[in-house]
């Protein structure tokens, strides 16, 4: 176990270095830099631009800039955002909460719907219910999340039941705690439903195929043969085994937790990390982008590791030796 952990943690180092370096190069490939827009402005003198360039270190070669960034990161300093002139860590943290709440809500929505529906559909394989729900889920998988977001906006505009985009009302600051909370929840429902619906279909199909696979296994036949009622067979033997891949998926979900859905955030104007990063990439705010990339990568790798650890704990067929050889 310890050897496995050390091995995996050591393997993370080249991955993180590689990903951050490639991202850094990609940002530098873009012609111009953060100050290009300012240079167009006749009110800003070239001296000021030069001064800012030196201050941000933009006048140095690529490798120097990368290693300086890396050096600061090793001292737990992600730098200062060029656009907002604030500490990147604080900036990300302020938006991360919004995105995390949205991701959690949408995950709850999709898991709470997908797993029971998947079970029902698989138990009644080839019934009309199965055919209809499987077909609808396939349709649902094909509708892009951003289009669902547009439809949700249309729905909100037409019915007036929900606010049209945004994370909170303009008068949010004046609301007391409970009204403020209600306001946030009210703004959360539609985006969570959009993201949840978009993710639901594939989850449901996975659940269905898992159960169908295990229903044919020999230990299930044994359970039936010894006279267990069908309910117990399904809940105790089939379901427990069918949930294995979902343990893995919960780990991967950790990475998705903060990466959010930039497009849905852009369409629905949500103040999340996705939108922040979107704008940062477009304005070439290198420290902010690199901070987000680093955070996303670490979350992804840690999430995968946790998923593997959870799988070993849950599935007796998997142990550290087989895991390490993969």
């Amino acid at each position: 176990m310890l050897r496995f952990l050390i091995r995996r943690l050591l393997l993370m180092i080249p991955l993180i270095l590689g990903i951050t370096f490639i991202s850094f190069c990609a940002m530098s490939l873009v012609p111009g830099n953060f100050l290009t827009g300012l240079k167009m402005n006749p009110h800003i003198s070239p001296e000021v631009i030069g001064q800012m360039e030196a201050e941000f270190g933009l006048d140095r070669p690529l490798l120097v800039r990368y290693f300086r960034w890396l050096w600061e990161v090793l001292h737990l300093n992600l730098g200062v955002s060029l656009a907002y002139r604030v500490d990147v860590t604080g900036l990300i943290a302020s938006r991360a909460l919004n995105t995390a709440i949205l991701s959690l809500a949408s995950m709850l929505f999709s898991w709470a719907l997908a797993i029971p529906i998947g079970i029902i559909v698989a138990v009644r394989q080839n019934s009309i219910l199965d055919r209809v729900l499987s077909f609808v889920s396939f349709l649902g998988m094909s509708v892009p999340a951003f289009f669902l977001a547009f439809l949700a906006m249309d729905f909100a505009l037409r019915t007036g039941w929900f606010p049209v985009g945004g994370s909170f009302s303009p008068d949010y600051a004046d609301l007391d705690m409970w009204n403020g909370l209600a306001d946030r929840v009210n703004h959360l429902i539609l985006p969570a439903a959009v993201l949840g619906l978009a993710g639901m279909a594939s989850l449901m199909r996975l659940m269905r195929s898992q159960i169908l696979e295990i229903k044919g296994a020999e230990f299930v036949r044994t359970a039936r043969a010894k006279g267990l009622p069908e309910r117990l067979v399904i809940y105790k033997h089939v379901l427990r085994n069918a949930l294995n891949p979902f343990v893995t998926m919960a780990g991967y979900a950790l990475a998705d937790l903060l990466s959010g859905a930039a497009l849905v955030e852009a369409v629905m104007n949500l103040q999340g990390l996705g939108l922040l990063l979107l704008n940062a990439v477009r304005s070439l705010d290198v420290p902010l982008v690199m901070g987000s990339v680093l955070m996303g990568t670490v979350l992804l790798l840690v999430g995968n590791l946790l998923a593997d650890l959870a799988l070993v704990a849950v599935d007796p067929r998997v142990d550290f030796a087989t895991m390490a050889s993969q």
């Binding site: 990609a26 509708v143 439809l151 249309d154 982008v289």
Partner: protein, 360 residues
């Protein structure tokens, strides 16, 4: 054991090889209706893309300045002697409230629809009195014509992208899996790095490299190149796993025993054995390219105006006011969804047909 050679059946006895048409007809009969509908939808969309000047009733760039944000027009059936002018007609729209851009039908005039007229599949007899099947957009251009032209981008981006990333993925994957050792290790680590990159943002950053003044065709190919560069790694990994598995398969051993070179075994035996799997994966990964282009164009980084793509047509809907007053700006999204759906159903069908073992 008998020393007699096994009698070989004469070629004349063998059943005739079915013609391509017969095999297609056979596939069609064996398919379920979702797969059939998907094929029909895709054929229509590819016709849009190939024959856009014929299918689009109007010039996609022509701006009907007096008809901006005009709603879809209703079509009426002509009666009696009117039929000589055309079977269908519409009432031209005129602006009732210029500020709110509200239109009403002008009942005093009629504009007749003609088929196979002036080189179009259908268009109105008088080009100055257009019939907007799906409405017009903010500058008064016909939305349907723009969607037909936009199909060129959306329908070909997937094909070209898959072609690039799959030839790359198959070659690198098969090479890596067949070679094994440190080469394999190095290539796979590189793939892992590429797969762990935050893909959408990476796409955004690279799309920003594309200068804005380029022609739509060049932009199209640059977007495809960027997306293929991001997309090939995952596929290479799967192929690599398969190649490693067939490395000791009897037919590869036989090839080696007969003295085939590494390259020959790779090209003649290892790669062909994976083509079926590749076909399934190709059709399932096309939607990713369509969605990627739409997302970029939606954010204004993809195909630029005045060229049309389904993504940049939908970008009008980024303003909630447009959704509220001109709901037909959402129509291009229906086309994107339909295309993605069709490719998904087709891929699902191919998976059932070609790889029954993996059938879900």
């Amino acid at each position: 054991m008998s020393a007699l050679p096994r009698p070989t059946p004469a070629f004349a006895d063998a059943p005739p090889r079915p013609t391509v048409a017969a095999r297609i007809a056979d596939e069609w009969r064996g398919a379920q209706w979702p797969a059939r509908v998907s094929v029909i939808v895709l054929v229509i969309f590819y016709l849009f893309a190939i024959a856009s000047p014929v299918i689009a009733p109007y010039d996609p760039a022509y701006q009907y300045r007096n008809l901006p944000d005009c709603p879809p027009m209703r079509l009426h059936l002509s009666s009696g002697a009117e039929r000589a002018n055309g079977l269908f007609f519409a009432y031209p729209m005129k602006i009732a409230d210029p500020l709110a851009r509200r239109f009403v039908e002008d009942r005093s005039r009629k504009t007749y629809l003609r088929f196979f007229h002036r080189g179009h599949l259908f268009t109105t007899a008088d080009p100055n009195l257009p019939w907007f099947m799906l409405g017009s957009e903010g500058l008064g251009r016909d939305l349907f014509s723009r969607i037909v032209y936009g199909a060129r981008v959306s329908m070909f981006i997937g094909l070209v992208g898959v072609l690039i990333s799959f030839s790359l993925g198959i070659f690198v994957g098969a090479f890596s899996g067949y070679m094994g050792g440190w080469i394999d290790n190095l290539i796979m680590r590189w793939c892992e790095i590429e797969m762990s990159l935050p893909q959408f943002y990476f796409l955004l950053a690279l799309a920003a490299v594309i200068p804005s003044g380029l022609s739509p065709v060049v932009t199209f190919f640059m977007i495809v190149a960027i997306m293929s560069f991001i997309g090939w790694a995952g596929f290479a990994r799967v192929i690599r796993g398969m190649a490693a598995a067939v490395r000791s398969a009897p037919f590869v051993e036989a090839g080696r025993a007969l003295g085939g070179s590494r390259i020959r075994i790779l090209g003649r035996h290892v790669i062909p054995s994976m083509l079926g799997f590749a076909a399934i994966n190709a059709s399932l990964s096309i939607p990713g390219y369509i969605l990627g282009e739409s997302a970029l164009s939606l954010l204004g980084l993809g195909i630029q105006e005045p060229a049309a793509s389904w993504g940049n047509l939908l970008s009008q809907a980024m303003d909630p006011q447009n959704i509220e007053h001109y709901p037909w700006v959402l129509i291009p999204g229906l086309f994107i969804s339909a295309a993605v759906m069709a490719f998904n159903f087709l891929g699902d069908h191919l998976r059932d047909r070609l790889a029954p073992g993996n059938a879900r």
